[in-house]
């Protein structure tokens, strides 16, 4: 053991303190950087110098600039981020469809249906009255227009959801490729040690990806990550797979490329994309129900109208026309009857009596008959449809709120554990500053002693 040993110990102290100051300054400068994990200096004693039975310490060394991380909490965050965004996306998009059926709208399908039947009831007061007949025609036109508009809007919304999903997929595939690339860089730079910045970037992309599609990640000892969606690996070390949508298939479905083919992974999709797909599927369901309503309603009313006679004693023609594949979107009220309301077949006999309302009464009775899908009245069917939409919206909103609350709590916990706390960094700065100053003092004193020794020689 000599004064050189003390000098070396002092120098190691300077280096260790310097590393600590460097890590602290890096933390402070990145306090607002999204996804940044606090760096910590892992310090240890150097192997001692042994002289006989005595061990002389030779200072400290920096083992690692560690990156604060918690895999369990991070996994939960990824999962909750996916589910929260899925619910929120679904809620926001279904709300736009629900607005079609708001009671404060000027014209809703329910309101126009009621007006149509109320117009028929009003016509019983004077079935020969031109004004009352024209009102029935007018109400029929408005009902058809309301169905057309609702159908068209839902169809456009569904198309929009599919387009949003496609756009989202471009970003998702790009992010998958980026994760694979960052994995390769982390591996090339020596693995988990010393690649904190690359790991921060990669983990940030994984978090963003989870918001988009809902993923989990397994971290390996070499620092690389495997990204899963459900049980399917989307990124495995430096290789990524592509996701795709098939717009020709209904319902909207998500596929992952695998072994020359594709695998349907729709049920595993969460996040924003999962929300688009869920909203699209629900929109198609609503549209299907609206088409069923339009077709069955028009068919029943046409059949009853045909059983009656108009003012000339001629049998009634079709009140509504439609194309079966898209009944709600194509239903129209008879233009012939609109132009000449005497063609409304209110009478039960071909005698052309002005006050004959026998068939008009039967037309009115359709309101309470199970003419829709053989099981529901027109009013109850629409009520059930709007209630279903309302339940879907309310459920997704409630789930989004709950999931976001959990996610916010997890993010807050994660930030408090692994983010930068300015007060903590300030105290570390003071500590490392003192350590540096003390080590400098040791070198200074040792230097003085060595000079004294040299002067003696």
């Amino acid at each position: 053991m000599s004064l050189m040993t003390s000098l070396l110990a002092g120098r190691s102290g300077l280096r260790s303190a310097n590393a600590g100051i460097n890590a602290t300054s890096n933390n402070v400068s990145n306090v607002s950087t999204p996804g940044y994990h606090r760096r910590t200096v892992e310090q240890a004693t150097r192997d001692p110098f042994q002289n006989g039975r005595l061990n002389y310490g030779v200072g400290s060394q920096v083992m690692e600039i560690g990156r604060s991380n918690d895999r369990i909490i991070n996994m939960r965050r990824l999962q909750e981020a996916g589910e929260a965004n899925a619910s929120e996306t679904e809620f926001l998009h279904l709300t736009s469809i629900e607005r079609l059926f708001d009671e404060d709208q000027d014209s809703t399908v329910r309101g126009e249906l009621e007006a149509f039947f109320d117009g028929l009831v009003a016509a019983t007061a004077d079935p020969a009255d031109l004004g009352l007949r024209q009102q029935v025609s007018h109400n029929g036109e408005r009902l058809a227009i309301a169905l057309n508009r609702s159908s068209s809007t839902i169809e456009k919304q569904a198309l929009g959801f599919a387009e949003n999903a496609e756009s989202s997929l471009v970003v998702i595939n790009s992010q998958l490729a980026e994760i694979a690339d960052l994995n390769a860089q982390i591996n090339g730079a020596g693995g988990a040690m010393g690649t904190g910045d690359l790991t921060d970037r990669r983990d940030m992309v994984i978090r963003n990806l989870s918001e988009k599609i809902g993923v989990t990640a397994d971290l390996h000892a070499d620092g690389q990550a495997t990204v899963f969606m459900g049980g399917h690996a989307l990124v495995s070390k430096s290789e990524s797979r592509k996701l795709s949508l098939d717009p020709t298939i209904s319902p909207l479905s998500l596929f992952v490329n695998a072994g020359g083919g594709t695998i349907d992974v729709t049920d595993d999709a969460s996040g924003e994309l999962g929300g688009y797909i869920a909203a699209h599927r629900k929109a198609e369901d609503y549209l299907g129900q609206l088409n069923t309503f339009a077709e069955d309603f028009a068919t029943a009313m046409n059949a009853q109208h045909a059983a009656g006679f108009d003012r000339t004693g001629t049998g009634g023609g079709d009140l509504f026309t439609f194309t079966p594949a898209n009944a709600a979107g194509t239903i129209t009220f008879s233009s012939a009857i609109s132009a000449d309301s005497d063609l409304l077949a209110f009478a039960g006999a071909a005698t052309g009596l002005a006050g004959d309302v026998d068939n008009l009464s039967q037309l009115i009775a359709q309101e309470d008959n199970n003419i829709i899908a053989g099981t529901s009245t027109p009013r109850s069917f629409l009520s059930r449809l709007t209630t279903q939409i309302g339940n879907d919206v309310a459920d997704s909103e409630r789930l989004a709120r709950t999931k976001h609350a959990v996610l916010d709590d997890l993010d807050e916990l994660y930030t408090s554990l692994h983010g930068v706390d300015m007060d903590e960094e300030a105290s570390k700065l003071v500590m490392y500053q003192s350590a540096y100053q003390a080590s400098a003092k040791v070198i200074s004193v040792t230097n003085d002693l060595m000079n004294n020794l040299l002067n003696l020689v």
Partner: protein, 276 residues
């Protein structure tokens, strides 16, 4: 902060509008009920409109039969008078013209119309009920107006039943006039019984129309009351109590302001401020 602000905005909307349910997602469990109530409200309004429209027909029909009664009473008065021996054949001849005129008037009354609708033509109400000779041209079926979910109101009558049912009162007047012209006192007396039966017939129909007016008034009153009850039920389901709404808004505002103050306080002082 963002969540609190969102909740506060929603509380503001409810407090300002007073409406807490405008769409199904606001209260999915009660939405079918709210829909059903709204539909029922609209139905009641339609029934009220129908009853208002029918009122004119009933009132006019009542007045018409009242006038018919007056005409028949006048005919009876003259018939009884002219059976008295003090009257000569000349007097009776002059009176017969009056009887024929009364018949003509009665046919005219039987052809009363309201807005182009002949009240006593049954379902064929777009044409006169009787021709000038008193032959019925109308229909035996009658118009019915929907006045509630389960009942209809008769708003036209089969004139043949009213004026020619048990007794053909046009014919009776014709016969009395003919008897007067022929100075046939016995013949005049013979028709008095039929004339009395005819009077009773018209009075009976007038009474029935009176009952229908009462029924219509009752139905109108019920529809109006039902509408009020349903509107109140709908308001109870869709509107927020103002006191509760404003109390909640005040709570939300307080909570939001407290959140802002906490956020401001925690961002103020750091340890770095004290390091020299």
């Amino acid at each position: 902060m963002a969540r609190k602000k969102g909740e506060m905005n929603e509380a503001e909307r409810i407090a300002v509008t007073g409406i807490k349910v405008t769409r199904a997602s606001d209260d999915p469990s009660r939405w079918p009920e709210i829909n059903a109530i709204q539909s029922s409200i609209e139905d009641q309004r339609t029934y009220q409109a129908n009853l208002d429209r029918s009122d004119a027909f009933l009132i006019t029909a009542d007045k018409t039969l009242g006038f018919s009664t007056d005409l028949l009473s006048r005919a009876r008065e003259r018939a009884v008078q002219l059976t008295n021996e003090i009257y000569t054949s000349t007097d009776r001849a002059a009176a017969s013209n009056e009887l024929f005129k009364l018949k003509e008037q009665l046919i005219g009354v039987a052809n009363t119309e309201v807005n182009g609708r002949f009240l006593f033509a049954g379902n064929a109400y777009d044409n006169p009920a009787f021709d000038d000779a008193g032959v019925y041209l109308g229909a035996s079926t009658v118009p019915l107006t929907r006045m509630s979910e389960t009942s209809d109101l008769q708003t036209g009558w089969d004139g043949e039943q009213v004026f020619q049912g048990t007794v053909d009162i046009f014919q009776v007047l014709e016969d009395i006039g003919t008897a007067m012209a022929a100075n046939d006192v016995v013949g005049i007396r013979d028709q008095l019984v039929a004339l009395d039966l005819g009077l009773e017939q018209v009075v009976a129909w007038r009474t029935e129309i009176g009952f229908k007016q009462v029924a219509a008034n009752d139905a109108l009153s019920i529809a109006e009351t039902m509408e009020q009850i349903l509107v109140a039920r709908k308001d109870e389901a869709t509107e927020e109590d103002p006191a509760a709404a404003y109390t909640k808004l005040a709570e939300m505002r307080l909570s939001y302001e407290a959140t802002l103050q906490v956020a401001a306080a925690t961002s103020k002082t750091k340890l770095f401020d004290f390091i020299r």
